[in-house]
Point group: C2
Chain length 454, copies 2
């Protein structure tokens, strides 16, 4: 094993988040107000989000956005996180590649999600909001927001995707331990939920559905805001602390990544790790660095979706987002990487992908658990099923280096640990898991009318 | 929250473990060979343990024992661990006390147990052993040894206390993910297990029983050694990296603890944190520091046991240990802090307690979960049920300071996180947990014939 950690001090926690849009030659197309069909203004988002989050969402000019002291103070609970040279994995693969990972699993909730949860809860508190609501897939985001809400004294209701609510009871318990209310989604508590249950009583839920329910609750409740864990620009912004720290740590290691890899659901951990490094590519300093988003082959929006305006949620409550999408009614298979079961890629990532600045690969479920087991046994950390997509993509890159003899430097994000996901591992070892690859027909069916939305 | 971390660099990982015995004015009485009734020699232990562990067990002269490079290299996966000033908890309690905790929960298996697992697996590997076996209560030790065994290429069989095997399936899965074999104890695979099952078919197991089974397997299998997770001197020795790091970190914080607190099952995390600080008391530098072991009121060996020679296991296979004990046949109640369900205090700790150098308190199960919830909500980390005993004892000390106005410095060990123990939290919130206080009659019954053993 003999892996090496690169550790920063608390003073090294970034003081500003990095907004990638000002450095993009081609900006993402604007979000569209579905009612007026006009480009969205920040004010249009004020009823739904905190004012600060809404302003950040539409900020295309400020490259650096200061992190409030209260947020940075909370980051100190677990940040800075370690960067690790994964010598155990390198040795196991017998690769000349140097593999590094940023270990975001050390947060008290076990994932990177706390980076944005704290910021968004803080902004709500700051403007006098008392109640917040959100959705969660695997429960990583819900757990993070529960902790943040408790700290800032906010009441929180979490719509948890039904399959995760049942598969991952421990994450539900974690949210309840922090004091949050957790509702299985689809639920009878919203119009959106009732409609979906009526149409399809056995539906196991998806992030798109849970978002609809949370948005509906926020819009119909006094002094209640909606908080999102991925997809949107301001969430990606908050997550850039990951890459900003990793930049310093790669300097300590005396290397610069040739390939930067993260798993991809709505883009939060990918953006967080990649954007600070991507900046050097966009401004012409490091033009050869590759950026690889690893998504599940059961939910392949970046590799096989279409680039169109689409809603962020099942019911069509959100603004229209210009993005690679499988259609907002896409029903992803019941894979264990619940955090990646989302139909769209978000505006920034999708534009970057469209412009060839980032790449995407899709990974089968069985390959992710194979990679996860190799990683656990060589590096000691049991990874989350989501993060295991990044590990599988990393292993693929490292094995290519073995063939070519290239000594590439690969950096990936270990977005979370899998200690709450042991049921999935049990099923993997019992040969009780399968791959789910979406057919072209399914994709065509879910995306066929998208161009008519606008 | 706004808690402050004190972080060391990898170069600060200790290079030697601290052996407290040379500094004790009154040494522990010797271990006794139950066959010959003579003081045990290291050679007597060679069939059971690795030679290095056996030698360390009986080493009463070397104050510092060098940590092998291979072990220190593995420590680098997660060490040094943070020391945290728990300002969130201080604020919640409104106490003038300064509360610090050493965060051992950041290890990849979620507890301090890896500190000794790595050392013992290394020593076995070094002398050509191929198979090892052990017991585990809650599964923390078994998970740690599974990871260590995989790293050094050893086959491992773990006897897991039946109640934990059933209550904590995730810990079993973790061990299996690392490649270990896990057997529910009592089992039909050993004489000791068969006897216990025959006598009491519904018995939920205990550490004492599981130790008997593992010892029997080791003694009856070629090239197989037994590895223990607590109680013995060499385990306490390996755990002193906790306190040695904490000493440096308290210096960084500019304070010295008035009270040092850890939970107590067999003594591994208590010894690990306490001994390096206790050294300053023993050599007359810091005579006023108090050391408090927090044990469950359902298994109160230090507070209510008798000081006698007793076996370390249910079946009577181990050497006789001079210690505070509830009797090796004591059957602890089914509390969720499975790691603390052990009948004896070990030789060093018991001698120190006998000589008034350390104290012990007992904590009710409901108080531990109340403390755990306060801690989770104020510091963000969900603690293991075991560690929550230390938190409850810390809160009691901090509240005394609130009454007296004293500004004491309290240091406790967060030996592990509770993310795998969410079932216990669910039951606590559902008012489905109770206290179990042992009666004097029960203790008298289990301890009545102990003086006749020798």
């Amino acid at each position: 094993m003999k892996s090496k950690k690169y550790l920063l001090q608390e003073a090294d926690i970034p003081r500003a988040w990095y907004n990638v849009i000002p450095d993009m030659a081609v900006k993402p197309a604007p979000l569209i107000n579905p009612g007026t069909k006009e480009p969205l203004k920040a004010q249009d988002l004020y009823p739904l989000f905190s004012k600060a989050a809404a302003d950040q969402e539409l900020n295309t000019t400020d490259r650096w956005i200061e992190i409030p002291d209260e947020v940075r103070d909370m980051y100190r609970i677990w940040r800075p996180t370690p960067l690790v040279r994964a010598r155990g994995l390198e040795k196991l693969l017998d690769t000349p590649a140097h593999i590094y990972f940023k270990n975001e699993s050390v947060s008290p909730v076990g994932s990177h999600k706390l980076n944005s949860a704290i910021a968004q809860a803080y902004y709500c508190k700051q403007q006098g909001v008392t109640n917040i609501t959100t959705e969660t897939g695997a429960g990583q985001w819900g757990a993070a927001l529960s902790l943040a809400a408790k700290h800032f004294g906010l009441e929180l209701a979490v719509y948890m995707v039904k399959i995760s609510y049942e598969q991952k009871p421990y994450r539900r318990s974690i949210m309840q331990t922090y004091g949050a209310e957790v509702i299985s989604s689809p639920s009878m508590s919203t119009k959106a939920g009732r409609k979906i249950i009526t149409d399809n009583p056995n539906y196991q839920g998806s992030l798109g559905t849970a978002i609809s329910e949370a948005v509906e609750l926020a819009m119909s409740t006094d002094n209640c805001k909606y908080v999102l864990g991925s997809v949107l620009n301001h969430v990606a912004l908050h997550q850039t602390v990951i890459g900003l720290e990793a930049e310093k740590q790669m300097e300590m290691a005396g290397e610069y990544p040739d390939v930067v890899i993260a798993c991809f659901g709505g883009g939060s951990n990918f953006s967080g790790l990649a954007f600070p490094f991507l900046r050097h590519k966009l401004i012409g300093e490091r033009v050869d660095t590759r950026f690889v988003a690893a998504e599940p082959s059961s939910c392949p929006k970046l590799t096989r979706g279409i680039f169109e305006y689409d809603f962020g949620d099942e019911a069509g409550y959100t603004p229209l987002i210009p993005m690679y999408t499988l259609g907002h009614n896409f029903r992803p298979a019941n894979i264990h990487a619940g955090g990646l079961r989302y139909h769209g890629g978000g505006a920034i990532i999708s534009q970057l992908k469209h412009d060839g600045l980032i790449e995407a690969v899709d990974i089968d479920q069985l390959d992710t658990f194979k990679a996860a087991t190799l990683f656990a046994r060589s590096e000691g950390i049991i990874p989350a099923p989501e993060s295991s997509h990044a590990i599988a993509a990393t292993i693929n890159e490292a094995l290519k280096c073995k063939v070519s003899g290239e000594k590439k430097t690969i950096l990936f994000n270990l977005s979370g640990h899998g200690l709450i996901d042991m049921t999935a591992y049990d099923r993997y070892f019992a040969n009780d898991l399968t791959n789910y690859t979406v057919t072209d027909e399914e994709i065509a069916q879910y995306t066929k009318d998208l161009e008519k939305i606008l």
